[in-house]
């Protein structure tokens, strides 16, 4: 996966709690057998009407958010189905960072396996970012090395991420390759069980 160290991008605010992965990528798009091409279907049922036309009452469709790469949302983001198609769709659409007060575990994990940085900030901080991004074209910088989020107007917040996930994201490492460096231990574990 693509490493992520420091990222500056346009913020898209989605002021909803409990956004589930069925909303991020509806099931009718889960039948593909590759990891690519899911971006066009992200938030499909919100972005398109039943005839498949873009709805202008859904904010992501507004021109001011074109090119966005940082998604800010309410608590428990990514709940529900374990489908990794959700982070694939977000990534393919252009999102590299998600910021929310909390996430569902599986989604959070899935992000880190695909080079999306999931940032946890406090409710108040998230609300500030959402307000800012709703009123104007708003850019943020997310620095994974320093574990900081800031804009150029004085907002600054710190976040935490476990050191293993951080290392993987910073380097863009393949999990399996890392695990296989412990293969002797796996062999040993299996041998002990027999």
């Amino acid at each position: 996966m693509e490493p992520i160290r420091k990222h500056t991008g346009l913020v898209y605010p989605l002021n909803r709690a409990n956004v589930d992965t069925d909303q991020i990528i509806p099931k009718q798009f889960l039948k593909r057998i590759s990891r690519q091409g899911f971006g066009q279907f992200v938030f499909y049922n919100w972005r398109f009407d039943s005839k498949g036309t873009l709805r202008d009452d859904f904010s992501l469709n507004q021109p001011k958010y074109e090119g966005t790469s940082i998604l800010v949302a309410g608590e428990n983001f990514g709940c529900g189905s374990s489908r990794e198609h959700a982070p694939w769709a977000l990534l393919d659409y252009g999102f590299r960072v998600v910021i929310a007060p909390s996430y569902a575990d599986i989604f959070y994990n899935n992000c880190t396996k695909n080079g999306i940085l999931p940032v946890i900030l406090s409710d108040d901080e998230v609300q500030t970012l959402i307000k800012n991004a709703e009123t104007e074209q708003y850019y943020l910088t997310v620095d994974l090395e320093a574990k900081k989020v800031y804009d150029n107007k004085g907002f600054e917040a710190t976040f935490d991420l476990d050191s293993y996930k951080r290392e993987m994201l910073l380097n863009g490492w393949d999990d399996i390759a890392v695990t296989l460096t412990h293969v002797d231990k796996i062999d040993q574990f299996e041998a002990n069980r027999k």
């Binding site: 909803r16 050191s163 796996i186």
Partner: protein
């Protein structure tokens, strides 16, 4: 004396392959269940990197998510067909055992694992599906994983996991007559919210849990993920042992008895400490119906749909408003007056023989309401057969239900079993998210008994007023 431990800690300790301070543990996986939707990209990854499946013997695949439940011999949907064929080719190439669409073992992955005795106490079990928590009913540590993790487990038979915090959900007292495991888990999520379990593994304890059958326990553990928990489990006991006795993948005779003792020794020790405990009284629980767009939005069948003003905060109010709008409901109307057009009895939550039997008991001698289309989708081929042997299919068919082949079906509507836009479905599944059963479809989660009663009446009704036979 040895420090008392929870079942979760006991299983964890037996599976750590590698431990490093400040990092997640590398955990060994005993059983990896695979299905057609979340696996193609994982196998593709193996192929690209020239890797093998490390333990095909600990891996088991089936087709459930998008299989048609009628006219199985011709799969019209080309994309679904490709996905199923891809699984078949992958399993052949990597030597993974597969119960394909025509196999007698085929069924919803979380129904067939226990049915075949693959699911056993003390195992670590993963599957690219969030409802893997179902297997926790057996005192196994079972959780859903993403596709990258599926690939990781295929290649290494391990997974990186941070040791979870433990949460004791203690259910005191007994459930009332006509109140089911489904009502219990909905009431738990309704009371504590859809994220109270985040970061935890739940252990369900207490009298009402001990009283549940294995089917009831599976229903409860199944929906742990709906409370945000990674996994949910129940300490093994005699009920667990008896369910597994004689199943295909468990040993027989003395070997079984010995294993049974080991299983029971896994139960949480007296005095073990959890990171968190919450309690609920079983006797207070009524049959539940969800009114909104997540499983926490549920109320007793005797209650009224909440109004926007009932919201505790602005965000809360906004959420209720959106949910009412989507569901086409008025705040304050009695849920029992809400008419439905569809009934779905099925899904990994409630499609086992015991579930179908209880629904059939309600339906017997009645007819599906003229405005309702009702389908029953058994959880597995073998459940279907068992039900047919018991004549349950006849009860449903005579009452006007459609009797289908096994699969996930209308739980997520990836096949042709879809609820049309704006229509309402009483469903025994586990998710009432927007669009889950079809774009614009309105889902109300209920128990099989409540679904059966709603099918007959054409609206929600307290199943206890229909004179239900006593069972849990």
């Amino acid at each position: 004396m040895r420090k008392p431990k929870t079942v979760i800690e006991k299983i964890w300790e037996k599976h750590v392959v590698h431990h490093e301070e400040g990092k997640p543990d590398l955990l060994y996986i005993d059983l990896h269940l695979v299905h057609e939707v979340t696996s193609p990209q994982a196998f593709e990854g193996l192929r690209i990197n020239n890797r093998k499946v490390r333990r095909p013997d600990l891996t088991f695949a089936t087709m459930d998510h998008n299989v048609p439940t009628i006219h199985r011999n011709v799969i019209k949907d080309e994309v679904s067909k490709t996905q199923m064929e891809t699984l078949k080719t992958n399993c052949e190439e990597f030597n993974v055992p597969l119960a394909d669409i025509h196999h007698p073992d085929q069924g919803i992955v979380h129904v067939i694992g226990p049915e075949l005795g693959l699911t056993q106490p003390g195992k670590t079990i993963v599957c690219g599906d969030s409802h893997t928590s179902t297997h926790g009913a057996f005192g196994a540590l079972a959780f859903g994983i993403g596709t990258s993790e599926v690939e990781h487990v295929l290649a290494t038979q391990t997974i990186w996991q941070a040791k979870p915090k433990t949460l004791n959900v203690k259910v005191n007292g007994k459930l009332g007559t006509g109140v089911t495991a489904k009502d219990l888990i909905l009431a738990i999520i309704g009371k504590f919210g859809v994220k109270f379990g985040t970061g935890y593994v739940i252990e369900y304890t207490g009298e009402a849990i001990r009283d549940l059958s294995m089917e009831g326990r599976m229903t409860v553990c199944n929906m742990s993920i709906e409370a945000g928990a990674r996994a949910g489990l129940i300490s093994p006991d005699d009920t667990t042992v008896e369910f597994l006795r004689g199943r295909r993948h468990v040993p027989t005779g003395e070997a079984f008895d010995q294993l049974a003792e080991e299983w029971k020794a896994l139960a949480t020790d007296e005095g073990a400490i959890y990171d968190e405990t919450v309690e609920i009284n079983a006797a207070d629980i009524e049959p539940q119906v969800t009114w909104g767009t997540n499983p926490g939005m549920c109320i007793p069948v005797s209650a009224n749909v909440p109004s926007v003003e009932d919201g505790q905060s602005d965000n809360d109010k906004e959420e209720i408003k959106r949910a009412l709008e989507y569901m086409g409901l008025q705040g304050g109307e009695p849920i029992s007056s809400v008419a439905i057009e569809h009934v779905f009895i099925g899904s990994c939550t409630n499609s086992r023989f015991a579930d179908l039997k209880k629904a059939a008991d309600i339906v017997k001698g009645h007819h599906v309401h003229p405005n309702v289309r009702a389908i029953v989708v058994p959880g597995s081929h073998s459940v279907k057969k068992q039900a047919e042997d018991a004549g349950i299919d006849i009860i449903f068919k005579e009452a006007g239900f459609e009797w289908r082949d096994a699969g996930c079906s209308m739980c997520l509507a990836m096949n042709d079993d879809v609820v049309p836009e704006g229509e309402r479905c009483a469903s025994t599944s586990n998710r009432n998210f927007e669009g889950r059963q079809g774009t614009g479809a309105r889902t109300h989660l209920v128990s099989p008994e409540m679904a059966a009663a709603a099918a007959v009446k054409g609206h929600f009704v307290d199943v206890r007023t229909l004179g239900v036979p006593a069972h849990n």
